[in-house]
């Protein structure tokens, strides 16, 4: 029996109205992603990959179509439900790290837990544990400005994983990093995802990153032109 997919996307379409012109970002996407799959959405800029990520994360509504994640229809939620949904189920790794500058590494990592209303003691302990796991045990009270790009992104990863979400979105996670750091970071993200059996969607235009995924979905002009599953190459 075919298991219910963790993510099911049906007939997804997104068009933007820009002045008198209609720009179609996503033509028609049908997609199923299984629980625990590490998926790379690959494409050049303008292919619609970022739009797909935004729609999946419920950050903007599609023009047409439906997205169901873990049995919940994201496309029918209102703003508050979406916030709660992201809080509980989704972790984000951003290209520009997006750490809050006035918070320390620990506070940044603990932030998603604060949104859930967790007690300071408990969330600080959780944040410290994750920071230690990403190798920043000695940077707990540093501010983002006092850390290198690679360190900041590791804080970002810690923040994405601290709530143990079922789904991780990584938007060009190594776009601002050199190739050596890229390898460390990718190994770390993928390692975490596999360890906790979390589903991950990596959006990138860097073919190097595709090598870390179980499945590579290639987008061009708002359509899937290639969907390739492969044996995992990493433990």
């Amino acid at each position: 029996m075919e298991p219910t997919p963790f993510i099911a996307v049906r007939g997804l379409r997104k068009a933007y109205v820009m002045g008198s012109e209609v720009v179609v970002a996503l033509r028609r996407i049908d997609l199923e992603i299984a629980q625990g799959e590490i998926c790379c959405v690959f494409g050049a800029s303008g292919s619609g990959k970022s739009t797909l990520l935004n729609l999946l994360a419920g950050m903007e509504p599609p023009t047409e179509g439906e997205i169901v994640i873990d049995g919940q229809t994201v496309t029918q939620m209102n703003e508050n439900e979406l916030a709660a949904f992201r809080q509980k189920n989704i972790g984000f790794v951003f290209q520009a790290y997006n750490l809050l500058p006035m918070l320390t590494a620990t506070e940044n990592v603990a932030l998603p837990l604060a949104f859930c209303g967790a007690e300071q003691k408990r969330r600080d302990a959780a944040a410290k544990a994750v920071l230690q796991a990403v190798g920043l045990g000695d940077r707990l009270n540093h501010y983002p400005a006092q850390m290198s790009g690679g360190q900041q992104q590791r804080v970002g990863i810690a923040r994405a994983f601290v709530t143990r979400p079922k789904l991780i979105f990584a938007d060009e996670p190594t776009g601002n990093l050199d190739s050596r750091t890229t390898q460390d970071i990718m190994k770390m993200i993928v390692g975490f995802a596999r360890k906790y059996r979390e589903t991950m969607i990596i959006v990138t235009h860097n073919p190097e990153l595709a090598g870390y995924a179980d499945r590579v979905i290639t987008l061009k002009d708002g359509e899937i032109i290639n969907d390739q599953k492969k044996e995992s190459i990493l433990p």
Binding site: E79, A84, F92, F94, N98
Partner: protein, 453 residues
């Protein structure tokens, strides 16, 4: 997010932009100071008005008069009725010799050398006398049979019957300026009645003494017309003594014996705010009343208007401060667009973001209000200091305004409610001016987090 986290975050954000926070707070401080100081002057004026009125008489006192149109009398039945009227604290029924149908004189000294032909004689029940608020210069109130207290200037009312006209009195005022002499400057009277006696005598139409009674002077009253004219140059005695004296006098003069009528009835309300209700009740019994209430009522209204006008002037600067807060918060929101987007992407709910910005604005208001209110107390003290110095220079008498200017009273008064009002109103202003920027913040899309500059 729980409140503690939001507060913490709000404090962090305010600290991050110290300069701007300081300037916004400063705006509120100025606004708060202007409104509190303006209103404090209003409060001060109201207080001095109140004092001015109260110096003219006790504000809770109501004088009860006979209504000559109806058949009402100032008698014991009235006193009983008044005592059972709600909100009446004390009923002071005054017995006197004004309505007596015989003539009395008061004399003192050996062989009645010093005489006063007319003096205010007032008699109360001992209990009532205690409640009337007499101030004693020396001794005590009459508390035993045959004892009296005399008014402050009673001794100066005595004329020496052995000296010629024009030199038979000692004046307590300067004969040239007419100014009252006090303390050491005041000349000694012919006779000191401290520990002495006075004689109350009844004379017939030929001036012959037909009856006399002697009273021990046990106290001297401080002059205070609010309490009664007997404090000036009169005599205060016990109701029982006076009644007995009257009966004896009537007997000696061969007049029909009758209980003397009350010369005046005064009622004290338990609270200044119940005066009109008590007056209403007494009028309902068919008597006339008078009190300071109507005057107080009109000045109260007048003062409320003044206070409103002063507060309004102050409010303008607080309005400017409110615009300042709004400006600061809008700047802050647009500066933090990305941050807000990130927070939303990470699952911060809309309500928390709104709270965050509202709280930030309210904190600026509260901070400004706290400093402003505290500073206002200081400014108020300085105003009063300057005012006191200038006030002692020129003394004008006559109008209310000149009285206010001449009285050594504080012109600016900040009661606790005004302090708290300054504090909370400033916070409210912050909250209100934070509403629009907070609304803007709430509308920011989580997509802002995805943008890469």
């Amino acid at each position: 997010m729980n409140l503690k986290d939001i507060l913490q975050m709000c404090a962090q954000n305010l600290r991050r932009r110290k300069g701007r926070t300081f300037l916004s707070v400063l705006g509120v401080v100025v606004g708060c100071c202007s409104i509190v100081c303006m209103m404090s002057i209003g409060v001060g004026m109201t207080a001095s008005q109140e004092q001015w009125i109260s110096e003219m008489g006790d504000l809770t006192a109501i004088d009860v008069y006979q209504n000559y149109m109806s058949d009402t009398k100032l008698d014991d039945a009235l006193v009983t009725a008044l005592e059972s009227t709600p909100h009446v604290k004390t009923v002071a029924a005054r017995l006197g010799l004004d309505n007596a149908d015989f003539t009395t004189t008061i004399s003192a000294g050996s062989s009645d050398r010093y005489v006063v032909s007319y003096a205010d004689v007032a008699a109360y029940e001992p209990e009532t006398a205690r409640q009337l608020g007499y101030t004693l210069l020396e001794g005590k109130l009459p508390d035993q049979k045959g004892t009296v207290a005399v008014g402050e200037l009673f001794e100066y009312a005595l004329t020496d019957s052995r000296r010629p006209e024009g030199r038979n009195t000692v004046e307590y005022y300067d004969p040239e300026t007419g100014e009252e002499l006090t303390g050491e400057d005041r000349p000694k009277p012919f006779i000191s009645l401290t520990g002495g006696k006075i004689n109350l005598s009844v004379t017939d139409e030929n001036g012959k003494v037909i009856y006399s009674e002697s009273f021990q002077v046990v106290g001297k009253l401080k002059q205070d017309y609010n309490v009664g004219s007997e404090t000036d140059a009169g005599v205060l005695m016990q109701a029982e003594d006076l009644k007995q004296f009257c009966f004896n006098a009537q007997k000696a003069a061969n007049i029909k014996r009758k209980t003397p009528a009350y010369s005046a009835v005064k009622v004290f309300a338990d609270d200044i705010n119940n005066v009109s209700a008590v007056e209403e009740a007494i009028r309902g019994m068919g008597y006339e009343t008078s009190s300071m209430e109507s005057m107080r009522e009109s000045t109260k209204k007048e003062m409320a208007t003044v206070q409103l006008a002063l507060g309004g002037i102050g409010a303008v600067s607080l309005l400017v401060a409110a615009i300042g807060i709004m400006n600061t918060m809008i700047m802050s929101v647009s500066e933090r667009t990305k941050e807000i987007g990130i927070m939303k992407a990470l699952g911060c709910c809309v309500a928390d973001i709104r709270k965050l910005f509202l709280l930030e604005a309210a904190s600026i208001g509260l901070l400004g209000g706290a400093v402003g209110s505290a500073l206002s107390c200081l400014i108020s003290a300085v105003i009063n200091l300057i005012y006191l110095q200038s006030g002692s220079a020129g003394e004008i008498e006559g109008s209310v305004l000149s009285y206010l200017l001449a009285s050594p009273q504080r012109i600016s008064v900040i009661p606790l409610w005004l302090f708290l009002f300054g504090l909370l109103f400033s916070m409210l202003i912050g909250l209100v001016s934070g509403a629009y920027p907070a609304g803007k913040a709430v509308k920011i899309s989580p997509l802002e987090a995805m943008k890469n500059e």
